[in-house]
């Protein structure tokens, strides 16, 4: 295998079910990740800290002490921009800049050197944030998340800024959910349990799996076939997923700040049900990506009605797969 500098990490998003239910706390989340050899910890401060955005110095010190204790490193900070914060108007660009500066400063206090910039951020705000990103050493990456795709005109606005400003502090954070080749069965099965028509669900999944470029009419087609409200809702849900050929990432690799290794369901340690990581990871290695692959488990909401969610086990499976695809040997700490 070609040598590379890709590192394994976990986004704390992955453990949202157990943390919400108070079965795990922040320390548990960091500890279990470290035990899997996932040394990079991505945080959503608005999830992990109820005091957001006014974290005390003691909370910040506690966060750093956790990383010291478990040998982990803070990686990305997932920011949001509440453009619709006020009921009567959207945020102005100046207010948006103020909001992202607040996040950049907090990311710096938390020791995060990357920031997931959410896709609804105005491109003007992204551009104006660049000097602050540099000053506080936080690389900003706009998230490319389905149903957006790298060649979407909304994303092109950000790529134009990235190419114009030409700073290593502006880039992208692709979410591997742009490569959903096989529709996640945890999602379709949930719709069936909730009352969608099994035959129509299967019909829709089959269409998705062929990746046609005319899926925007899917909900109408389903209605024409007598679909109920849930069948139509499922059709609308399906068009929120995305598949593009893994190779399309290659020209963008130099601009990648961080990667969300999204997944819905691991099939043992072997593979993710929907996303062809065995094709994506070699491309990242060959392209010289040198950041983190950060596990982002998003299956909980689809199975919580029928089985206890075990996010830790799911992440463990994915980390084992990533370790193998990254060529880590079995004797190496964390790999199995």
């Amino acid at each position: 295998m070609t040598s590379h500098d890709i590192k394994r990490g976990v986004s704390l998003y992955s453990y949202q079910e157990e943390v919400f239910l108070r079965k795990m706390n922040l320390e548990d989340a960091v500890r279990v990740s470290a035990e899997m050899g996932a040394r990079g910890i991505e945080v959503i401060p608005e999830q992990s800290f109820d005091s957001f955005p006014n974290l005390s110095d003691a909370e910040i010190a506690g966060w750093h002490a956790l990383h010291e204790k478990y040998g982990t490193t803070p990686t990305a900070y997932d920011m949001f921009i509440d453009l619709k914060r006020r009921p009567d108007r959207v945020m102005t660009i100046d207010e948006g800049v103020e909001s992202i500066i607040r996040d950049i400063k907090l990311a710096n206090r938390l020791g995060c050197t990357a920031m997931r910039v959410i896709v609804n951020t105005p491109p003007e705000v992204f551009e104006r944030a660049a000097p602050y990103a540099e000053e506080y050493n936080v690389r900003l990456g706009v998230e490319i998340h389905s149903p957006m795709r790298l060649d979407h005109r909304w994303i092109q606005q950000f790529l134009d800024v990235i190419h114009k400003v030409d700073s290593r502090y502006l880039g992208i954070v692709p979410d591997m959910g742009i490569f959903v080749r096989e529709f996640p069965r945890v999602v379709s099965e949930r719709f069936k349990r909730d009352g969608a028509t099994p035959e129509l669900v299967d019909y829709i999944v089959k269409i998705y799996n062929d990746h046609p470029d005319d899926m925007e009419t899917l909900s109408r087609e389903v209605a024409w076939r007598g679909g109920n409200a849930l069948d139509v809702a499922f059709a609308n849900n399906v068009v929120g997923y995305n598949y593009v050929e893994p190779e399309t990432i290659v020209p963008h690799i130099p601009y990648i700040v961080h990667i969300h290794a999204k997944f819905y369901e691991m099939v043992g340690d072997e593979r993710e049900y929907s996303i062809p990581y065995e094709e994506v990871v070699p491309l990242l290695i060959a392209g010289g990506y040198d950041g983190y692959l950060s596990s982002e488990y998003e299956g909980n909401r689809h199975i919580q009605d029928v089985e206890p969610v075990d996010s830790v086990q799911q992440v463990r499976h994915q980390q084992a797969m990533l370790a193998r695809l990254l060529g880590e040997t079995a004797t190496e700490e964390g790999a199995r």
Partner: protein, 128 residues
């Protein structure tokens, strides 16, 4: 994504003040994977199938007591991801002993979505 967990077990209470029952309350969670500012949150409640008038609902957290109708203007307080918030309903006499069907609808104005995200749950809760 967390609809089923929004109303917490063992939180339905009659509330007394100066020896009189002035209403009832229930503990609720936010149905989202992050906390959110109060100006972006709206709730509605029903009890045993009857809608609770909005002006009778108060949202209590962090030692504060907000009228539901004032929430759109609250720009400096948040409903945290891990927090149980008390929804208080002004109703002299409170609820009768035993089990009640409580329904909560929570509307979250999430900026990256086109329309508010609405979470709904109904459950039988026993008055503590």
């Amino acid at each position: 994504m967390f609809d089923r967990y929004l109303l917490e077990e063992d939180t339905l209470l009659n509330v007394e003040q100066d020896g009189a029952v002035i209403g009832w309350s229930v503990g609720a969670r936010i149905g989202y994977y992050r906390g959110l500012g109060l100006s972006m949150i709206d709730v509605s409640l029903s009890i045993d199938g009857a809608a609770v008038p909005r002006e009778r609902i108060r949202v209590q957290l962090h030692g504060k007591d907000y009228r539901l109708t004032d929430l759109p203007d609250v720009l400096d307080d948040r409903w945290g991801f891990s927090e149980t918030v008390t929804l208080f309903v002004e109703q002299p006499g409170g609820l009768t002993a035993g089990s009640h069907e409580v329904s909560l609808e929570q509307s979250l104005r999430i900026s990256y979505l086109a329309i508010p995200s609405v979470n709904r749950v109904s459950r039988q809760l026993t008055l503590a």
